[in-house]
Amino acid sequence: MSSETKIEYSKKELPSSFGKAGYTLFAVGLVLVIISYLVDPVRSSFNNLIMLMFLSSIGVGSLFLVAIEYLGGAVWSVPFRRIPEFLGAIIFILPIIAIPVYFNMHDMFHWTHTEDVLSDEILSGKVGYLNIPFFTIRVVVIFLVWMLFYFMLTKRSRLQDQTGDQKLTSSNIKISAIFMPFFAITITIASVDWIMSLEPHWFSTIFGIYYFSGTVLAAIAVVTFLVVYLTEKGLFIKGIKTDHYYSLGALMFAFVNFWAYIAFSQFLLIYYANIPEETYWYLNRWEGGWIVVSLLLIFVHFVVPYFGLVSQPSKTNPKRLKFMAIWLLVAHIVDLYWLIMPTYSPESIPFSWMELGFPLLTFGIMVIVFGIKAKKENLVPIGDPKLKRGLDFRL
């Protein structure tokens, strides 16, 4: 019966409103960002760091989604694998975004103050890891590793559009397997270096996993939004059903819970043991008005999406999915804001037009990168041997 499904895909242009939205977001964001850099470079650098971490999440998180599909032998996600592949291209923007942060490091990372480090016994013990040359090397290596795997994974996928060669799938499976340990290590180092070391005395072994949980959730959220959006606009391949929607919704729901589990584990263990070396990090997010953001995070990142996605109909409702996807992206920004900004301003919550410019630019970059890639390439991996099975997919 369903074996009759034909692969009907003809490449269509994205609506011009898509590109316009992207460029508008980008232009408004960029203007605001430039002004805020002129007004307050330090504060802007912290906001810039949020943008960097967010786009890293989307870029490398998308790459993770691609790799996990190959490794798990999944078929349901094949029809929209191009979406995370396109989003992976964001990795190439990351070095540019990292530059302003890099030049303002001295005002952001306390461990860069050599004289303070020398007088601080704990910090001088960390000099072997937290020093600018080694830090720079790590940043460069991380970006190179991500770019390398982006190339290797997407190149074969694109080639397959023309040849349909199954060997390309086999080799991508191997590359994905090799990618996994690299992914685990790079994302851990990235989270430790770029977020945890903002408060260099603090430490938490789960921190890499915490960032990972947010990363993957954000990547799934973008993919979900785009799948629903493109299907509704009729730009996508025919055959995307509620079964696909349901799976995306269930995956988002799973990672909402996973994030909450990791976040709660970290909090409870530190709260319960009550050692000053660790608790001060949470106290910084409790005092000076930060209690509001801390409590808000629980609702924004867990309670609302939990109830928003828990029921079966909500996972197949396109409107709900789009709303929750955008919501979770905002939640990831709130999460990063909560992680990063208390270092900048422990006494009060900094929130003004400056904090708005960066997210606008972030979304603008995402839309533009996706738009450019979608213009050049097929939205669907038409040569993938698993594509038909993916369209036939049923729960």
């Binding site: 019966m1 369903s2 074996s3 078929v75 016994e121 704990i122 910090l123 013990g125 960390k126 890891y129 199954q166 060997k167 799938t169 086999s170 397997a177 996994m180 340990p181 685990a184 851990t188 430790v192 005395h201 430490f203 938490s204 072994t205 789960i206 921190f207 890499g208 996993i209 269930a250 819970n257 589990y261 990791i262 584990s265 970290q266 409870l268 263990l269 530190i270 319960y272 043991a273 050692i275 070396e277 993938d384 041997p385 698993k386 038909k388 099975r389 036939d392 049923r394 729960l395």
Partner: protein, 455 residues
């Protein structure tokens, strides 16, 4: 060299057996008398069990002083064994519930058996906290209920959360297992000629008639129970990890413990399932139901979870150094180079090094090799709990109270007994209940697929 055709779904069950053949082959062990080998195996496991019973009897008579536990190592073998056995149980729920939610069809061949293992492993694990309290007859007070003594439990202790988590987990696992068995009980009821068996199966099958309506309800209940079991399985080992991690003992207090313990539990559980299934599929001729592909997939999960455990070890070491906390740094150097270095390096080689061999496809598909690796994994995972529990306690903050923990013969007897109990229950299970779900296997046959084609 093209070996896999990705455009076709691979058959989960090989040889395309008919529905009748499936009934026959799975119910065969239940309808035939056990042979000599079975009794031989049973006598070995029961002997092991008896050794444990002697160890327990002596402990009850003379007291827990017979164990190696000392001051400061108050948590010796009993807690190590408890964590080990709870961990073994985790693979069962992962296979039966989490893989079900992920719609992994290959799980059908192994789910029933793994779920059974969960139940037996949790039962075995349950013994240890009971005996470790020293007065097991007072263990009823672990459940908070209003009593004449106004005696209440300490609600803020993770040891109590363990009581709730493990008992809830056990209950839900048992119900989940039983619900899955109902259609199979009905099949067996319809097959058997023996009156007593017929009556028993009839009672347990709850009047199941394989009707469409029954199936609809069944599927719904099964999905809901899978949804319940998934957070439960995570919560159990998370709370077991809290037993350690909420304290401020160096080497115990680290935030990665919850996910790390869960990964480790799945790791050891899968190794145990793989080990036992290798025998089952051979002895009962299930090689086309529990295929080599299935075993390979299990080995991949062992590789994945083993790498996660390796990541956690590395992260603990790194953060111990990075934190600058001296007791923490000492605890980890002591683990690797102190008096228990031997245990530590057994743990690292068995858990991190050997499973990495599963990167090689040939090893993933060679039964003797994978069997050996999985045995080593379980050795390693037992030692992991030993390393965590004992090394940290034996070298606490006060050097004057440092001590070396040496387990006694009684400790070993109880450990052997726990294996005896587990494998005895396992053997009885193979002869009393269908070890593979008849109904589920039928549902994943090639002919049962909506996209089925003749080719």
């Amino acid at each position: 060299m093209q070996t896999v055709d990705y455009s076709q779904e691979l058959a989960v069950i090989e040889k395309r057996p008919s529905l009748r053949e499936i009934d026959e082959i799975i119910s065969k062990p239940l309808e035939t008398k056990p042979d000599k080998k079975y009794y031989l195996a049973l006598s070995i496991t029961v002997t092991m069990l008896m050794i444990g019973v002697v160890g327990l009897g002596l402990s009850f008579y003379y007291g827990t002083g017979l164990w190696g536990n000392n001051n400061p190592v108050g948590w010796g073998f009993p807690i190590v064994n408890f964590v080990f056995w709870v961990g073994i149980g985790h693979a069962g729920t992962l296979i039966s519930a989490i893989l079900f939610l992920f719609r992994q069809k290959w799980r059908t061949g192994i789910a029933r058996f793994a779920e059974g293992m969960t139940i037996f492993a949790v039962m075995t694990a349950g013994i240890f906290p009971l005996i470790h309290v020293g007065r097991p007859w007072l263990a009823g007070y672990l459940f908070p209920y209003p009593n004449q003594h106004s005696l209440w439990v300490n609600f803020s202790s993770p040891l109590l959360w363990d009581v709730f988590a493990v008992s809830t987990y056990f209950t839900v696992s048992l119900i989940f297992w039983y619900v899955g068995l109902i259609p199979d009980f009905a099949t067996l009821r319809d097959r058997t000629k023996n009156k007593i068996k017929k009556l028993t199966y009839s009672v347990f099958s709850l009047g199941w008639r394989h009707s469409n309506r029954h199936w609809q309800h069944y599927e719904m209940v099964y999905l809901i129970l899978a949804g319940f079991a998934t957070p439960l399985v995570l919560s159990v080992h998370t709370i077991v990890s809290f037993d350690f991690a909420i304290s401020i003992i160096p080497g115990w207090h680290t935030t990665i413990f919850p996910p790390y313990f869960v990964a480790g539990a799945v790791f050891s559980g899968f190794a145990m399932v793989q080990n036992v299934l290798i025998f089952i599929r051979k002895i009962f001729n299930f090689e086309h139901i529990i295929t080599l592909d299935t075993l390979e997939k299990m080995n991949k999960i062992i590789l994945l979870t083993g790498s996660m455990v390796g990541y956690a070890y590395a992260m603990e070491f790194f953060i111990a150094w990075y934190s600058g906390v001296q007791p923490e740094q000492f605890a980890f150097i002591n683990r690797a180079f102190g008096p228990y270095a031997w245990a530590y390096w057994i743990m690292v080689t068995c858990n991190v090094v050997f499973p990495q061999l599963f990167w090689i496809k040939k090893i993933r598909r060679t039964i003797p090799v994978m069997f050996a690796i999985a045995v080593l994994v379980n050795v390693g995972m037992w030692f992991e709990r030993f390393v965590i529990t004992v090394t940290s306690l034996s070298r606490d903050y006060l050097p004057s109270s440092w001590a070396y923990y040496t387990p006694t013969l009684t400790d070993f007897a109880i450990l052997i007994g726990s294996f005896g109990l587990f494998f005895t229950l396992m053997l009885l299970f193979t002869k009393t209940l269908p070890v593979v779900s008849i109904a589920e296997v039928k549902a994943v046959l090639e002919d049962a697929q909506p996209s089925h084609k003749d080719h």
